[in-house]
Amino acid sequence: METQQPALRTEALCKSFGSLKVTRDVTFELPRGARYALIGPNGAGKTTLINLITGEMRPDSGRILLDGREVTQAPTMARVRQGLTRTFQINTLFPDLTPIEAVLLAICERDRAAGQFWRSLTSHRVAIDESFEILTRLRLAEVATRPTRTLPYGQQRLLEMALALATKPKVLLLDEPAAGVPKDESAALFSVIAALPGDIAVLFIEHDMDIVFSFASRIIVLVSGGVLLEAEPAVVRGDPRVREVYLGKVGHV
């Protein structure tokens, strides 16, 4: 029964800032293991939609279901604990912590061990091994003990991802994971995303159409806050409306 539920489902989500409608009736489903892309021109409301789903903003109306359970009113923290995690378009890291500490922090929070003040950090051996394993997987092992603020930008983007993975998400929302990363490096970053465990449902925002078409199994096109089209890459590529509002302007494809 439960396995039939989509990992994430939104129903008629709406959000306005004053008279400006930034999210209009957004309904979509993210099945288990999905690799969906969310695209749309600047100002289409992509980040707002992610903020609504993760609970950083509250929708004016509509519902959000995680694994069939409603989380529309739940605080961000509770959603993360139920497996809904995001990364940020602009690095939102812990500048003075080292990557090993930051990932360990996320794991301790996930294991509900972060409130223990009588037990030394070094005694969390399994968590430390897991942190280092995640950092190794994201090719950050060599800089694991350097303060985050001293890391090159590309590695900070990877650390964004490492922090999200440490929460063991079932649904992962990636807000422009490769934003600001040179094209050759962004391909490496997306190969990491492609290698994520198959049961994680991924929704990513990305502007580079080459990447979108090679990594997404399905694409949601958002325009002026509403879903214009949700379809396979081939369909999106051939759709004249998409060309007009989005692809045509950018000059890609």
Binding site: T54, P75, T76, M77, V80, R81, T85, R86, F88, T92, L93, F94, P95, D96, L97, I100, E101, A102, L104, L105, A106, C108, E109, R110, A113, A114, G115, Q116, F117, W118, R119, S120, L121, T122, H124, R125, I128, S131, F132, T136, R139, A141, E142, A144, T145, L163, A166, T167
Partner: protein, 328 residues
């Protein structure tokens, strides 16, 4: 992908090294015994320093580690001081139980206040902490039937520690008592900051916005550390009462709240011993300067504060640590 094992730091080892007792720490605690033998005339000053250092460490836990800027922590210091005094006046002069009760009472008030504290940030937070402190001060001032008002609480009598060590005029017992309390407070604080909870506090300080996004109930963490810190500050206040046998209103004053932040900034925030070093510098400077110039000694503290903030943004101990690291 092959992992070049030898070049990678072992994370376990690296984390362990961060929490190990350093030579400097051990040297410091050995040196802390010197006043017993070399500077007996300064024993009363030394116990004042130990008490204030414990207070400064309690502030470092919330300000230096969790990033909660407070200008009202004297509230807990004063509550502890008055509680200890009142317990003693009520006929129970046993210092250790008095200390514990006073600490717990300050902690209870801290826990209640924490519900408001965790809901505000930045300037509002500073003003709320300041407001709490002013409220408590005036409450103590107006309840003079209980607190003695501006005359202070008189007639406090403290029994010998463990029934053996009488508080002597020289201050041997007082310093021993205060130093033992500071040592315990630091050992406990060390344990806290080197735990997973301590790591969460640093996470809150570094980026509170990210905390919910990794599933953290950071408000719960803040309430916990604020309460622990209040207990510690309350114990420091109680120590002052028990070693001086009086309580004055200035234990609750804004001045005390502000001074402790100055000490912390001088020594360096977020490193525990910074609080201790800052306290020593501040108190010794005050002792020496007020002898020379009782009216204007704050002038020099102001100058020192500006020099440190401009030239050593991590505080005196922080800069020394950085220098030592660079030499390695």
């Amino acid at each position: 992908m092959t992992v070049e094992a030898p070049t990678l730091a072992d994370p376990h080892d690296w984390l362990r090294r961060r929490s190990r007792w350093s030579v400097f720490e051990i040297a410091f605690w050995v040196a802390s015994l010197l006043p017993f033998f070399l500077f007996q005339t300064y024993l009363p000053l030394a116990s004042q320093i130990a008490i204030t250092a414990l207070f400064a460490v309690s502030v470092d836990l919330v300000l230096g580690y969790a990033g909660v800027v407070t200008l009202g922590h004297a509230m807990f210091f004063g509550l502890g001081a008055y509680s200890a005094g009142l317990i003693s006046k009520a006929g129970w002069g046993e210092p250790l139980t008095g200390l514990i009760i006073a600490g717990l009472f300050a902690g209870l008030v801290g826990y209640i206040a924490s519900f408001i504290i965790v809901r505000v940030q930045h300037l509002a937070l500073i003003m709320i902490t300041l407001g709490f402190c002013l409220l408590t001060y005036e409450l103590a001032n107006s309840m003079s039937w209980l607190t003695g008002g501006t005359d202070g609480l008189q007639g406090v009598e403290t029994w010998p520690i463990l029934g053996v060590f009488r508080f002597d005029l020289w201050g041997y017992a007082a310093y021993g008592y205060a130093l033992a309390a500071l040592f315990l407070g630091l050992v406990l604080s060390r344990r806290i900051v080197h735990s997973s909870f301590g790591l969460s506090l640093r996470g809150i300080r570094e980026n509170v916005r990210r905390m919910p996004a990794i599933g953290s109930d950071y408000r719960g963490h803040l309430q916990k550390i604020y309460t622990i810190s209040a207990v510690m500050a309350g114990c420091a206040g109680a120590l002052l009462t028990q070693t001086t046998d009086t309580v004055s209103l200035d234990t609750l004053s804004f001045q005390r709240s502000a001074d402790v932040v100055v000490m912390l900034v001088l020594g360096g925030t977020g490193r525990l011993y910074g609080a201790v070093v800052g306290t020593i510098i501040f108190m010794v400077a005050r002792d020496q300067l007020s002898d020379m110039n009782p009216q204007y000694w704050y002038f020099w503290i102001g100058l020192l504060l500006m020099v440190v903030v401009l030239l050593m943004p991590r505080g005196i101990l922080g800069s020394l640590a950085q220098l030592a690291r660079r030499r390695d």
